[in-house]
């Protein structure tokens, strides 16, 4: 088999071999970003806090998906599948959030009845 020797050179019949160097750099990037997000959390940016944390998490996630999971070298359709699953989650979140924000004002505030019951027992 003439093709056999060439497969050893990183061109396999199936799949794509990601060199260890790239994996290593990705891993180090992920660790650095973990440090960054912990460091960033020590400052208070107000409402921006969660968005900064999420942005860093998205970058980390992209690194994992692209390099560790080979999506960069993979069929685009696999990416479509993955992104559409995220899109459905986003859809779910946005509709559910909009609705709960809308009716939040109608809810009774304070501890819920069963909690109050428990606290009453505890307080006696």
């Amino acid at each position: 088999m003439a093709s056999e020797s060439s497969q050893h050179e990183g061109h396999p019949e199936v799949g794509h071999v990601v060199p260890v160097r790239i994996l290593f750099v990705t891993g180090m990037g992920l660790l650095a970003l973990t440090l960054l997000t912990v460091w960033a959390a020590s400052f208070d940016f107000g409402n921006l806090n969660i968005w900064i944390a999420l942005a860093i998490a998205v970058v980390k996630g992209t690194l994992v998906v692209m390099f560790f999971m080979h999506l960069l070298y993979d069929r685009p359709f696999h990416g479509i599948v993955f992104v559409s699953s995220l899109a459905f989650v986003a859809l779910f979140i946005s509709f559910a959030l909009t609705d709960t924000f809308e009716y939040a004002g109608d809810l009774d505030p304070g501890d819920a009845p069963k909690v109050v019951e428990k606290l009453n027992v505890l307080g006696e």
């Binding site: 609705d99 809308e102 009716y103 069963k114």
Partner: protein, 573 residues
């Protein structure tokens, strides 16, 4: 059609191959451990029809109870458990897996020209998941039962006394969900990766498009019901209170969770049915399907739309007015792809050479019933009228027209269509038509009266009602409608028993089926009936699946085969 040389043996009319998938191997283990998609499909079919019988029996109990005012045969608690189990069995055990898992498993790889589905072991595993789920769900009745309705709404499900029953049903739904997911994954991958050379996307029969769209829904929506029932089980076991207002939880959130799956699930149920109807109408009117691409893409469009309308189940459950308006508006847009399908089917029928075979009668029933269900859906999607109709028998009638008049009628039509292929036997066409008539009449009698019940204000899930069956006053017509509704359900039951009789009879006494009894052009009609173990030893000849001009009737064979004056024979590449 007229010149047939009966002296020369025609290629399709040869004696059927000795080895088919039924005779390939014998013994009970060769079935229980099989990886053959055809056998798994048959096992699914038998199991699902058994569950259908069970669910139907509960329906009969309900109709007997409601036939007259006052308590007849079920106490109030028994009544609640009966309608809950009727719903759970029919939704989760029967209709959701029905077409994809049984007929889809059998037909899909053959239609595609593949030897099997992509992951045969996963396929078998998903069947056993179904069996596990079925055992769990049905056994709940022996452990106290469940009386929440199939929707398992909190706080009924978290505060009632049926601890064991609820846990069993939630676990059953979880397991069944994974069964459904694995079927969906299997079919999507099969359609993507196992199409033989020449089978392009637009040469796939529309049934495959429908199954593909269903697969998207199964994969993207079903995990949410998994996490919903998992939360429900944790809530039930430990009382953590995510959905319990007494603990600061949010019961409306549960309905968001539930319907984010269960609305797409409605389309998991109906889309495969629509796929079957596309096949039946085209094949039995011997005319090329009208608007192939429109029907194909409308399946995908329905799949996508179905994800953004779930709130129309929640108009009166505390959802905010803003979202009510949004969901109501989007709901109406689902009418577009659905109507695209109906009009294309009608256009296919127009000037077709219609054979009123039993499967075709079911397809025509579907058109009537599905149209009624769609049009009554508009009343429920409109906010103002929904306030009046919410949780009445109008809703019950509407979704029975969709689920039963749509999905199940299509499935029964599909069973009749592919029965010769699956078993190699023909059933009695005469009895088939009578049964279809009984079911159509019985169905409409049962459920059209319920539209009237609902619009008069009869709430659903009630054990009893006011009214005198024989001397109704103007405001107390409930008794009259309930009585006729029950009569209709008996007629329908008679129809189903008739079907069971002649189908079982055909297994032993039926005529041998030809390879192509109806004149279908898709690939499953190119292999013998029943198909050989490997479906196709050579890649089959792929062409336009609705080009019926290449076929002609063979009187001797009592089936269709490739026209003699054409060069290609089916199976010759």
């Amino acid at each position: 059609m007229t010149t047939i040389d009966t002296t020369k043996p025609t290629p399709g009319a040869e004696t059927p191959p000795v080895d088919n998938y039924l005779t390939h191997s014998t013994g009970i283990m060769s079935w229980l451990g099989t990886l053959d998609h055809k056998r798994i499909g048959v096992m699914y079919l038998v199991s699902i029809l058994t569950a259908f019988f069970l669910g139907g029996m509960f329906a009969m109990l309900l109709r007997l109870e409601l036939m007259f005012p006052g308590e007849q045969i079920l106490s109030q608690d028994q009544y609640n458990m009966a309608f809950t189990l009727h719903g759970v069995i029919m939704v989760f055990l029967v209709i959701i897996p029905s077409v994809p898992a049984s007929l889809g498993n059998f037909v899909l790889p053959i239609m595609l020209g593949a030897k099997d589905v992509a992951f045969p072991r996963l396929n078998l595993f998903s069947y056993y998941l179904w069996v596990t789920g079925a055992v769990l769900a049905v056994s709940s009745i022996f452990f106290g039962g469940v009386d929440t309705g199939w929707t398992l709404y909190v706080p009924y499900s978290t505060s009632g006394t049926q601890m064991n029953g609820i846990l069993l049903v939630t676990f059953a739904v979880f397991v069944l969900g994974f069964s459904s997911i694995f079927t969906g994954i299997n079919f999507i991958v099969t359609i993507h990766r196992l199409r033989p050379p020449g089978m392009t996307w637009f040469r796939m029969p529309l049934f495959l498009w429908a199954i593909y769209a269903t697969g998207i829904l199964q994969v993207m929506a079903t995990p949410v019901i998994g996490i919903t029932v998992a939360l429900l089980a944790v809530e039930r076991l430990f009382g953590i209170g995510i959905f319990d207002p007494a603990l600061g939880g949010d019961p409306v959130l549960f309905q968001h969770f539930f319907w984010f799956y269960s609305h797409p699930a409605v389309y998991i149920m109906i889309l495969p049915g629509m796929g079957i109807i596309s096949e039946l109408i085209s094949v039995h009117s011997h005319k090329h399907i009208f608007g192939y691409k429109f029907i194909a893409f409308s399946s995908v469009a329905i799949a996508i739309f179905s994800f953004i309308v779930w709130g129309h189940h929640m108009f009166l459950s505390g959802q905010s007015p803003l979202m009510n308006v949004v969901f109501s508006a989007i709901t109406f847009s689902v009418a577009i792809p659905s109507a695209v399908k109906v009009f294309n089917w009608l256009a296919t029928l127009y000037k077709g050479s219609i054979s009123f075979n039993t499967p075709m009668l079911y397809a025509l029933s579907f058109l009537v019933l599905f149209t009624i269900s769609g049009l009554t859906g508009l009343h429920l999607g409109t906010l103002a009228t929904d306030i009046h109709l919410h949780d009445t028998y109008f809703v019950v009638a509407h979704f029975h027209y969709t689920m039963m008049g749509g999905a199940l009628i299509a499935m029964i039509g599909g069973i009749h269509h592919w029965w010769p292929k699956i078993t190699g036997r023909m059933y009695s066409e005469f009895l088939g038509r009578i049964a279809c008539g009984l079911i159509f009449i019985g169905f409409n009698l049962t459920f059209f009266t319920q539209f009237m019940l609902g619009s008069k204000g009869m709430p659903r899930r009630y054990h009893d009602y006011a009214g005198d069956n024989w001397n109704p006053t103007v405001t107390e017509l409930f008794g009259k409608y309930h009585f006729w509704s029950s009569i209709g359900s008996f007629v329908m039951a008679a129809g189903f028993f008739l079907i069971a009789f002649y189908l079982l009879h055909s297994l032993f006494r039926g005529k041998k089926a030809p390879a192509n009894p109806w004149g279908g052009r898709s690939l499953e009609w190119q292999c013998a009936s029943p198909p050989p173990h490997d479906n196709f030893s050579e890649p089959p000849h792929v062409g336009d699946p609705y080009d019926f001009t290449v076929l002609e009737w063979d009187e001797q064979e009592q089936g269709y085969h490739w026209r003699h004056d054409l060069k290609h024979e089916p199976g010759e590449a």
